[in-house]
Amino acid sequence: MPAIAGLTLVARRAQVMYTPTTKAACTTIKHMLASAEGTYRADLVDQLTVGHISRGLTIHHPSIHGLPRLLDLPEREQRHILTSPDWVRLAGVRDPISRAYSAWEHRILLLKQRRPHAIASLVPDAMVDGRIDLVASFATFAKALAHHTDTFMVDHHFLPQSHIVRADAIDYNMLVRVDQPGTIPAIADMLHRRTSRVVTPMRLNEGLGVKVSRVCDQHTANHLMSTYAMDYEAFGFERQSYAAQLEPYVLSELEQSLLQKYHSLVERTSGISRAARARTGVKFAVRQIGRSVRQRVHRRNEPVDPREMHI
């Protein structure tokens, strides 16, 4: 229970309990839930110094969504939430292969600079004339995931959905396929009925719009279906067929250029975020005051850009 309760969020006013499944519309659903509950702190989004790479992703920070964790509630209340018919126990799932592609695209392709070293060495980009071939790169990932499952599953984006949702332990009364048309609007309607608040689903944390069938051949799919066999069993996903072979999907020069700029920016944002979080507290303020005093004493006349801060 603790492993689930740490992720599961509770909206008391809406009487909705939600276990967010990574890469299954969790950003969108969290945003809707927090908006319906009235706990969403849009005013704090641009003040957060944690290294989220877009404003949309800041919804995952507790100070932004404002929803308590199931784990943090009294045991009696937990039991009530987990058993009462008045509560909606919500989770979202998605076809394992499209989810795996989404996880790879987000965590490996886009967030290159943040790949843990153990994972980075297993998933080199497959390049053609200096541009990434998505088909070959995704195939490399699927094979590496199959052979080094434990290494990847330190990142919960690669965890099987059955391990996150734990439908065997929690009696969900709203377990939805987020990749089916109408599901997200249906969640929005449910929240509106329960809170009288109009909730608009926003397209958050979307991918690059690449169709999975364009980058995943049958061999790659077989690796992934084997790795996520427990999800097929737990949620009854259909094992789809894929092309036996695919032409390479090599990024255009502009796509490659944009991707490289994105990588540089992520690296820079990570650095700023780390440095920003070190600049808190009395110790930092005292050091800065000392610096100002030294400058004054030595009559230094540095036209330092006030935006440039350093210790």
């Binding site: 886009l110 719009g209 700029k261 006349n301 440039e308």
Partner: protein, 338 residues
């Protein structure tokens, strides 16, 4: 910075303060470098800093300015380790600005390709800077349905040209769009070396000059080589800019053509009177939007940190004032030190 520095050398010209603050000084190399925006300033600043042996890449992560990549932090004083002209005592200014022992260096670039580069950086990518605020005057032209939208780059650039023509002064408040003549003021600073960065081999020649000066001055620096930093997206100008749009832009930069002898006819020669729309793919459009979103996020983090710093100081000042009162000692007024 002493006001008498300005009066002595530039006669109180309106650009004096900006020139003093922008110009970089490498005292061991004896190089004064005026970094011209969108004319390889990132690459050249890096080369000067490396030749001076003052480059501190280890400090890049401590810099809270809104640079879009670790390379661009070279523009931060703590990273490049160079002085600003404004920091020099008056007695040295004359030497730096007139002595034949000093190399007064700057760079220039064809105005049309430069303004395209500025648009790409400030408006297409929404890089931090004054011009970001003008993005709604040159809106994107997008086709397709939500989730499958595609940006028409040709039409979007045409929007920019119209907006730029109508609001030239506003755009030129961002020095990426400012004329090079105004930015580097060759009438005030007697440059010994004006590098045409769009001429093949020019940066290599500059690297050789800086390497030679570095060896002569004994900075201990290794050979300097130009690196490709802060490059654009590689979109050919001829794909998005018609000859008519080029004429509009070139007319606004007429002074640069006159001052530096750039050829308008050469710039126009590669362009067409009509263009097929250059429409980005859905993936390219999404990547562009992801990039913009992440740029905004990095701005948020940097701004939030600066606000927090000011709040921290206000808190400390309050504490200091309370301690001062309680101790009943006469100490220096806190505001002078904070």
């Amino acid at each position: 910075m002493s006001g008498s520095n300005h009066a002595a050398f530039f006669g109180g010209d309106r650009d004096t303060q900006r020139l003093f603050r922008a110009a970089l000084v490498a005292p061991r190399l004896k190089v004064l470098y005026m970094p011209t925006t969108k004319a390889a300033c990132t690459t050249i600043t890096m080369m000067v800093s490396q030749a001076e042996a003052s480059h501190r890449p280890d400090l890049a992560d401590r810099v809270m300015t809104n640079h879009l990549s670790p390379h661009q932090t070279i523009h931060a004083a703590s990273v490049n380790g160079l002085l600003r002209l404004a920091q020099l005592p008056e007695r040295r200014l004359h030497d730096v600005l007139t002595s034949p022992d000093w190399l007064r260096l700057t760079s220039i670039r064809g105005p049309l390709s430069r303004v395209y580069s500025a648009w790409e950086n400030r408006l297409l990518l929404r890089a931090p800077g004054f011009a970001r605020r003008l993005a709604d005057r040159a809106p994107d032209v997008v086709t397709g349905l939500d989730g499958h939208q595609q940006l028409d780059l040709t039409a979007t650039f045409a929007n920019f040209v119209r907006a730029f023509a109508d609001h030239t002064d506003d755009f030129m408040r961002d020095h990426h769009f400012m004329t090079q003549t105004r930015f580097i003021r060759p009438d005030l600073i007697d440059y010994d070396m004006v590098v045409r960065v769009d001429t093949p081999g020019a940066l290599d020649d500059l690297a050789a000059v800086l390497t030679a000066r570095s060896k002569a001055s004994g900075t201990g620096a290794r050979d300097v080589t130009p690196q490709r930093l802060n490059e654009g997206l590689g979109i050919p100008l001829a794909r998005v800019c018609t000859a008519a749009d080029a004429d509009v832009l070139m007319s606004r930069y007429g002074i640069d053509y006159d001052t530096f002898g750039f050829s308008q006819s050469d710039a126009r020669a590669a362009l067409s009177s009509q263009l097929s729309p250059y429409v980005l793919s859905a993936t390219e459009t999404r990547l562009l939007r992801q990039l913009r979103g992440s740029i905004q996020r990095s701005l948020d983090i940097a701004d939030a940190t600066r606000l927090r710093r000011r709040a921290g100081f206000r808190a400390m000042r309050t504490i200091y004032a309370v301690v001062h009162k309680v101790s009943r000692r006469h100490v220096a007024i806190p505001q002078r030190f904070m």
